[in-house]
Symmetry: C2
Subunit: 149 residues, 2 copies
DNA sequence: CAATCTGTAACGGTTACAATGACAGTAAGC
DNA sequence: GCTTACTGTCATTGTAACCGTTACAGATTG
């Protein structure tokens, strides 16, 4: 799996942690530990799906436009990674006369698709809000500092 | 996910379809559509785990040494891919004072681990035997030919 | 000892992914 | 209206994972 799912979740949790704060792509990138252009790309998906609002120009950035406890990780997974569980590499050869070789790829496609649905089902049980709660529940000696850096 | 899981499943289903037949890595590779050296590598894992027996030298090859209906895809997944669901890329930075940044990677690690377990749980519901049955159940006009090529 | 097979390591090409740079477009403040 | 500070997006480069392939030692048969 590529890491856009992780970046999207991290960014949303961060924004949920900073309500009413316009965070720039630079701020988010520093927090996530990646480049701001990557953040802007992922945030583009989240904007089109209505999870964040963006504002260009001075004082602009990103802000949450949804309720954290209503956004599940399943939605974010589908937005960023759906269909990527199955390897692109294909087993067998449909043109072969052998029953196994000619049908294995179709069968594995079904298996991977169903497995992915199971995983999505697990992700449905978690929300951006519950993720933030879990982070806050970790034992955190220095958690009172609200620095972004 | 890399494709060793797929190769292992395909090879085992093929061997289950050809009971009492010593299949060489060349034969299996032709059926799977890959190189024989890759087959030998994957079969090495399956041999060490006791799913197949191998024989070197003339007349050698691979043969199933388990009951197809007792081998689940979950076992094969753990053997070939366990732990690969989580991207190697890491979000955040443990050394940062920010609660979100410093704890996100640990949290995502747990999320991916649990998601993988869900997927494994799905794979547990399928066996090499049931996979073979599904292939045989496909509508197959030319399925009587038992050619390997 | 010759032929055929596994077991395993190494190398090279290709593809996917991440980091980065660049720049047009947009909005705010002066 | 000009400057500044942002987003949105594309192109390029570096890098790691993956797959195909070659090579060869070891084992077994005849």
């Amino acid at each position: 799996m590529n890491s856009e799912f992780t970046i999207a979740v991290h960014s949303l949790v961060l924004l949920a942690h900073l309500p009413d704060h316009m965070a720039t792509s630079e701020e988010i990138a520093a927090n996530v530990s990646t480049h701001s252009a990557r953040i802007r790309k992922v945030m583009g998906f989240l904007r089109k799906a209505g999870y964040v609002s963006t504002k260009e120009g001075i004082g602009g950035g990103f802000i949450l436009s949804c309720k954290p406890e209503e956004v599940t990780l399943g939605e974010i997974y589908r937005l960023t990674c759906q269909g990527t569980l199955k390897p692109s590499w294909c087993s067998g050869d449909e043109s072969k006369p052998c029953m196994i070789s000619s049908k294995m790829d179709r069968l594995m496609g079904k298996v991977f698709c169903d497995a992915e649905k199971q995983m999505e089902n697990y992700f449905e049980g978690h929300t951006i809000g519950s993720m933030l709660e879990q982070i806050r529940a970790f034992e955190c000696p220095q958690s009172n500092t609200e620095s972004l850096s």
